[in-house]
Symmetry: C2
Subunit: 445 residues, 2 copies
């Protein structure tokens, strides 16, 4: 019997983060950056206006007021994206737009609301569109307030300087980090890719939803739950339909799928029965693989053979989820986690073992591998009982600092599982938990 920690530790110490690749920015969303990114040119690259207004010389607007405005000649427009083709001399102003470069000669920007906008009246509320009123780029403007040097000017490098470190290796790329990468000119980022997880359920009793049931049959649900959960954890997940309890069929399916798998997850067929196909098919020599799809490193053959392939099946001291398996198979030594087939067992096993593996493959740090855990007060009508020597994961509904069990401990209770948002953890040495007790809770989603 392995403890939960021993099994998890064995898996996490074996799997390695995926090799980094260069991805386009939006394909890298949610991925972990593996390089430090430095700023190649100052951000912003040039002094520019932070307002729509007029670029002026400080001396020309000193002491300006509504009563005694400074009257300046407008020598033209500076729009964003233009290299200014003009110079602001004494007694002159250039109309300037937010983000446009400060033209030579100018020292400050006065917002259009501090001027008459060239209309000869009181303070303007804005400019008319250039396409409708081209005359706004010429004539005279009355400025009603003074401006200090640098007023409403964003200096080159005021956001970041060339050589600054924009992002450090290990950063998870969300919207703001992608924005920064784009800002410094990066179209791609070097990241660990999302793992490709192939999900395969086994069981001759399984029929795809939407098809009628014959006697003895049920609908395959695990492959849907596990695929969705793998995606939610950050993976690119592929669902393979349920495979019948035949070792040769399963071996062929696994062989076929390995080419697109960074991780293989199976459900069912791992217990002590006479038809436990996963155990039968994967305990033996690993799938031959044959054509490795061009992904293996042929020069590594010697090393590959040094690692014994195949899956080791174990009993883990937990409920549900006792029968587990882990190993490396195929030419790329793809990690495989074989989960038990009861719906609740496979769901709990995913949360406790598979989710951390997916996140470790992504290169996420230790503190982001697992679901958050909190303490809560058990809100229940009667004591919970739990088998000695097994860590029990009961389904619960956490609200505030309380958690209420939903459904019983039966590992076939899918209805209750769909009402749960948490797992209540009962330690190995506890056999009964009274209402009102303080319990550990794993928060799902």
């Amino acid at each position: 019997m392995w403890t939960v920690e021993e099994h998890l530790e064995d898996i996490l110490s074996t799997v390695r983060p995926l090799e980094p690749i260069e991805l386009r920015l939006l394909d890298a969303q949610g991925c972990v950056l593996v390089e430090d990114v430095t700023v190649p040119v100052p951000l912003p690259p040039f002094d520019n206006s932070s307002m729509d207004g007029y670029a002026v010389r400080v001396a020309d607007v000193t002491g300006a007021s509504e009563e005694f405005p400074a009257v300046l000649d407008v020598v033209g427009d500076v729009a964003a994206g233009q290299e200014p083709g003009l110079r602001v001399g004494p007694g002159q102003a250039a109309r300037i737009m937010t983000g446009a470069p400060l033209p030579p000669g100018a020292e400050a920007v006065v917002p259009v609301e501090w001027t008459d906008g060239g209309l000869g009246a009181g303070p303007a509320t804005g400019m008319r569109a250039r396409s409708q009123a081209p005359e706004g780029a010429s004539g005279q403007v009355r400025v009603f307030r003074p401006a200090e040097a640098g007023a409403h000017v964003r200096r080159a490098g005021s956001d970041m300087k060339a050589g600054d470190r924009a992002l450090t290796a290990g950063t998870v790329l969300g919207p703001a980090q992608l924005s920064l990468l784009a800002s410094v000119g990066r179209a791609t980022a070097r990241v660990r890719p999302r793992p490709r997880v192939v999900v395969l359920s086994t069981g001759s009793e399984l029929v795809p939803p939407g098809e009628p049931l014959k006697p003895g049959q049920i609908h395959d649900s695990n492959s849907f739950a596990l695929t969705a959960a793998a995606r939610e954890a950050g993976a690119i997940a592929y669902r393979v339909g349920a495979v019948a309890d035949d070792a040769e069929t399963l071996r062929t399916s696994v062989d076929d799928q390995l080419v697109r798998a960074d991780l293989l997850v199976t459900s069912g067929g791992v217990s002590v029965g006479a038809y436990d196909v996963v155990k039968e098919a994967l305990s033996g020599p690993a799938p031959a693989g044959g054509d490795n799809g061009g992904r293996g490193d042929d020069g590594d053959d010697g090393d590959e053979e040094a690692v014994a392939p195949g899956v080791e099946f174990r009993r883990v001291a937990m409920q549900p989820g006792k029968p587990q398996g882990f190993g490396l198979i195929g030419p790329d030594h793809t990690p495989v986690l074989t989960l038990p087939g009861n719906p609740v067992s496979s769901f709990v096993s995913f949360e406790i073992f598979v989710r951390p593996v997916i996140r470790a493959l992504m290169g996420l740090p230790e503190d982001q591998l697992h679901r958050p855990r909190v303490r809560a007060v058990l809100a229940a009508d009667e004591a919970l009982s739990s088998p000695r020597g097994r860590r029990q994961f009961l389904r619960g509904r956490a609200e505030g600092d309380r958690v209420t069990p939903v459904g019983g401990p039966g590992s076939h209770l899918i209805g209750a599982l769909a009402q749960a948002n948490a797992l209540i953890v009962v330690p190995e040495d506890v056999t009964s938990v009274e209402p009102g007790a303080d319990v550990e809770v794993v928060l799902l989603g």
Copy 2:
């Protein structure tokens, strides 16, 4: 000047959740169910074994012990997915696998570990694979412990009964809910789809990342940030490259994109300058649309014309993010939100206005539209200042119950934005916040 609440309320009271469609289960992940789903047949559909073991009659194993085992004739195997072709008579047992239907005549299951597994020795640890050892399905088995009626049997309907409500309308479909839908035989679910959000940035100064900058140019970052943020909020997001500050070009781009948009989000061109192209292009009559791509309802023409199209541009009492616009455009009255162009302004505007709209389009309930807000202690060296009459959203880093400002209030500071995980909210009537003060914080991601 509109308040933040007035602008948001105007938008949310105008947009309607998207029309429901039938989606395959894994395509419906994260979507809101719009129908109550009832259980058509009991779950499980038949009495079945919860263990690998032997199906027996209670009377035959009464009083059984290791010293005085019950010795039964094994009449065959019942595997999962099979309709049992056998009957368990007095003095008989059938080998049975987890999930297999309880055969006629049997009343309980004894786990294989409570028997000799047919090997004539002590308690077995499991069964040998049928394919390797077919003799296990015959011969005799010694049973070492009694079993009550129904032991290790999951009764038909013990999870859910026919007619039970499996899920109610309004449920968000995560892994467990998809599992339940699959279990009750549903291959599809009726949900509101994820909104298709088209993101379009404007500005003649914008160059795609990866391309060199000429004088006066910067890299487009908003379209990446907004596209990534829209996805994170739940949308299917399409990034359109930056459009130059030309009204006709923008109108054409918008016309082209409307066919695939449930929501259009623009950045830039909404302030008081002479080149504010979004204002110029979208204030006037809405884009003609012409070919509506087959998505419009032609019979609705009269009604469509009753709603005045076009975007209303507003000043909202916030910093950053003062210039905002909202309206419905095109033949389908597609909602459009026009955000200011400064990177921090567009980012904050997205969080405060666009994210709730995306989630409202998905049909999520009111309490799931917005980011979580908490109170935190301001950890800062000096007081924060904020303009009177404007709600300020400063970037901060929240850790535990403390929040530290990162970067200054400048809306071009992308470097600091990438370090933030929270927005610090300074109310309209507050102009200064002392270190140690209790502040409202919006938690991002």
